[in-house]
Subunit: 618 residues, 2 copies
């Protein structure tokens, strides 16, 4: 009963990377290179995954993959026979084990985001200084001596460094490594430590937080960890959390502490996994929506939650890792992506940066799917953006059998004449339905005509006509019609896993909000749906959606499936870019001026358009 | 038995200022204006005490003072008869009570230091902002709205302000006063508070600390307080305190805490006296020697104490009042005068600034007398500086009957044919001899020939010839010859107050170190002793020295007494200047480049010259 795409491929596959032994689960068709990138496995590259630098050499251990033209040029016949391929051109269609060679040279650039090649120019830099010992003829102050040894930089110095500077320089016999972040000298380490320099990129979502430990000397991701945002008990969405602070004076402190403890635990996870000590990590870059950032910093969020929806500040400067509660170097700095507005936060700016929305000349549509769904349409010249309130359809709590994408979740659904086929995470007995499974099942029911274009389940009579095998799975339960995905016997629970009529309605609302959003942006841009050259699906839901199902229900424009691309956790990728490159960080600030925000709720025709979009395409 | 100058005037007088009721004890001949200035009594002035602005009008209540030409022009005959005088031209020769009118206009300048007229341009500034309330059409972030309202400033903002910014702006109905220090926005206060803006100027000496509360809107001193530096138990001089930190790892923390608690108590004193709340004080300016500054900041001082004598840093930036432990506004900033070297610290730079050594065109010699004595010779073009190790002669501990200038201390001594005349602080029975008394008694003994030019007490035979009245006061005690200043019966102790032969030697060493210093600077400058147009005596000892006695023993050049001027606590005055004017603060930094340091110990002829200088002038 394993679900497959119509082309016979499994919807989700597992890649195992050696020698790290890391296993990752990704949508079918993702390149071996991208899958590594998203999951903290470092693969060499200087071209950004475009098949031109021929550096991303990996060996496919236990399977055979097609040989591309670039592979023929990059490898000998013997190597090809052994399984060597360029990772960026190797599309994973089945479970694979991939041998990744160690990085041999120190790269000058790294690939992050959606095929973005980023020159390594981190805000963190190290300088090994061999200082002259002071004499009566050279009585320069200790700090002056350090400054003079790196006189191309004009650094500010923390008092904490000065407290022990004299002792430290003398104990190190005047040979020290200066650690500079931006314009701040944050540490002087004894001896030459220039080869150890790390940062943590964080995507702090309302639901989930993800941290990636980055080696700033190579640009390579070393470890990734994710967990639920501990603020969950204060509500699933930002408005609930803002409301909590308005009702209870102490809630702000508690929400700050919960966010900080979430990030602290993630930091410990990635440090332990990679064997890096906290004192070697000098910066944190964070992407989060405006509410998450304000709560994390302990900034009163009330003005975000009530009209006219005002940020405390678009941009925070002079941040330290300790402001985020991240236990790394005590003087480590931090940066947070700037926000465009109360509902287009730093997460979206980070995502737009990672997706190259400011420079890719193709006409592209970027959709970050979540409770609040952000949509960007741009061609590198003009960039339009809007936020669509998609509602809770993608949140587990609002769907009858909803659950997160965890073991036991139905993530892929297909329907044919033989009946129903499910793919369940962990190949266990199903216990619920995650976001991608929801879209899949509704899409399949619509495609096979078991629900009509208005979203209504067919009557029992019509069901029996259209699909007699599945008709018995439509039953009445607690006064509502439901479609049984797994009966009490089939499921891993003592109750069935179902999709209710109301669940379909929830998804219709979400889909209508999103498609109204991109249709109105397309009008504003003066283009047709079919002109769109690429659709990037981002966010924890977007990445795992079946492109085919998304087209079927009208969530995305009707363009060839191959042009609908999983963009991964673009907010997190943006955070990595900010860590690896100060120029890219400045690019994010510039983006804020370039992106033009289109307010949907202002438009007189919004409600009419929304109602039109509720139906599924025929 | 009260000592008088030869011209019949008392050496020290008391001035009482009304309506504050503040009593101050100052050297005879100081102007009523300077005495007020030094002691935190605000008197109007825009010319810097040069008799030209005619703003420093005061009424001498209980005495008659000569009428100057400027007085005739400034006042009617009736007013002159009532006692009105210009304070800057009124030289106090007797105890006086002075009525000071309230400041009527907000001055644009203040007089500080040695007649320095400082235009008020404090680093602290307040802006009253009436902001537009945000709307859906104007969704600027709260901070942006504040920034836009003062767009001539580019301010950085503390995270603490952002935490409550939204609530604060709304609670204040969008009418707030921004408090900016330098380039930092440190507070937003509800409503218009522009008329309340204070700072504290601190002179942190090895022995004594002095704090002055300044009104930054008027430049007026509001209150002064001084106390012993609580670090005293760790030794009287900087070397002892540095040694303490080298012997005991925890001593640095304790010394820091003691210095900070000293300053904290002084701050509380001046705030209480002036009725100012801590939150209205936004900056501290501090002058201190390099060791005091490093200890205060908790910076390891060891390299200051051992060759080649290295500062941690010449200049500390980004300081906060909390780094000094001064409990004022929680985000108040702080500034410390930069140092020229390990032994020419910020106190001397502050003093040189206050004395106008960088701009006064007269050839002037500045001597700050203490254990370490700093000497500056300059004519506004060329400024030379040196440090002379004067030793402990001026410290109470090294002199037989030594004590601080406190009640019971003999502070003035004169000798004539009738015998010995003493002036004792508080008109009490004498219990000891303070620094100025020591110089006086040795000077008088030398002048009257009771000690010979080599510093030796005359033999008993010769004594009886030279001054039969005083001869019996030279006695043998504990195997040493001493001169009895007060017998057991005359003194307030159950033992006599004496000057020993060894005490004379101590003073000779100090005097020789100092006079060798200025003589060598004069040679370096290519000038004669008699070319010097003014000598400024500074520091807690210098200010109260008798000019006549200082000349007699050869401590200062032999020039007319009137040209030897008490400069007051110039380090503290420099700190006031830094509070009142950012340009002057920058001037202090510039001074560091202008002052040329002359190392005495380098010179081959130093020891010979020193020995020559031990003798008293004949």
């Amino acid at each position: 009963m394993t679900a497959q795409h119509e082309d016979g491929l499994p919807a989700r596959i597992t890649l195992r990377y050696e020698p790290s032994g890391k296993s990752v689960r990704v949508p079918t068709g993702v390149s071996v290179f991208d899958a590594a990138l998203w999951n903290g496995v470092a693969v060499d590259s200087t071209c950004g995954g475009h098949g031109t630098c021929r550096k991303c050499k990996v060996r496919i251990v236990d399977s055979e993959l097609p040989i591309s033209r670039a592979d023929e040029r990059a490898f000998s016949e013997g190597q090809l026979a052994e399984g060597w391929r360029l990772a960026c051109l190797a599309t994973a269609q089945h479970d694979l084990t991939v041998d990744v060679p160690e990085l041999t040279t120190r790269p000058k650039a790294a690939t992050v985001g959606v095929g973005r090649q980023v020159i390594l120019r981190p805000a963190v830099q190290k300088r090994y200084l061999k200082l002259d010992e002071p004499t009566l003829a050279d009585q320069r102050a200790d700090l002056q001596r350090v400054r003079d040894a790196m006189d191309d930089l004009e650094v500010e110095v923390d008092m904490d460094i000065l407290r022990t500077l004299g002792r430290d320089l003398r104990a190190a016999d005047w040979k020290v490594t200066a650690v500079v972040v931006g314009a701040d000298l944050i540490a002087l380490e004894a001896g030459d430590t220039t080869d150890r320099m790390f940062g943590i990129a964080i995507d702090l979502g309302t639901t989930t937080a993800v941290a990636t430990l980055m080696d700033l000397t190579t640009g390579a991701p070393l470890a990734v960890s994710s967990m639920l945002n501990r603020q969950q008990p204060y509500g699933a969405d930002v408005i609930s959390r803002i409301s909590a602070t308005m009702l209870d004076f102490d809630a702000l402190d508690r929400l700050r502490d919960l966010a900080q403890s979430t990030l602290a635990d993630l930091a410990v996870d990635v440090l332990v996994e990679a064997g890096v000590t906290p004192d070697e990590v000098y910066e944190v870059a964070l992407a989060g929506n405006a509410t998450m950032v304000q709560l994390l910093l302990g900034i009163d969020p009330e003005p975000l939650g009530v009209a006219p929806f005002i940020l405390a500040s678009a941009h925070y400067e002079g941040l330290r890792a300790s402001d985020f509660g991240v236990p790394i170097h005590p003087r480590a700095r931090a940066t947070a992506f700037p926000a465009l507005g109360a509902y287009v936060g730093g997460d979206i700016v980070a995502g737009a940066l990672a997706a190259g929305m400011d420079r890719d000349k193709r006409l592209r549509l970027f959709i970050d799917i979540g409770t609040n769904c952000e949509i960007i349409l741009g061609d590198g010249e003009k960039v339009l953006c809007t936020a669509a309130p998609a509602g809770p359809a993608f949140e587990a709590a609002s769907i009858s059998s909803g659950m997160r994408a965890a073991p036991g979740a139905i993530e892929v659904v297909s329907i044919d004449d033989e009946g129903l086929h499910l793919q369940v995470i962990g190949d266990e007995a199903p216990v619920g339905l995650c976001g991608s499974g929801l879209v899949d099942v509704v899409s399949e029911l619509a495609r096979t005509g078991l629900i009509d274009p208005s979203g209504r389940f067919l009557s029992d009579d019509r069901l029996a006509e259209v699909n007699p095998v599945l008709a018995p799975r439509f039953i009445e339960r607690d006064g509502e019609r439901v479609f049984v995905l797994a009966t009490e016997e089939e499921s891993g629970l003592d109750s069935p896993v179902v999709l209710s009529q109301r669940d379909v309605r929830e998804l219709q609302f979400a889909k209508a909000a999103i498609s109204t959003g991109w249709r109105l942006l397309a009008e504003e841009m003066g283009i047709q749906e079919s002109d769109i050259q690429q659709v990037l699906l981002a966010g924890s839901f977007g990445t795992y959606l079946s492109a085919r199902s998304a087209i079927t229900i009208g969530l995305v424009p009707k363009i060839p499936v191959a042009r609908i691309v999983s963009a991964g956790n673009v907010a997190g990728e943006g955070a990595k870019m900010a860590l690896l490159s100060e120029p890219e960080r400045h690019g994010a600030v510039a983006l804020i001026d370039e992106i033009q925000y289109v307010e949907l709720s202002d438009r007189a025709d919004f409600n009419d358009r929304f109602v039109d979009e509720l139906a599924f395409p025929v």
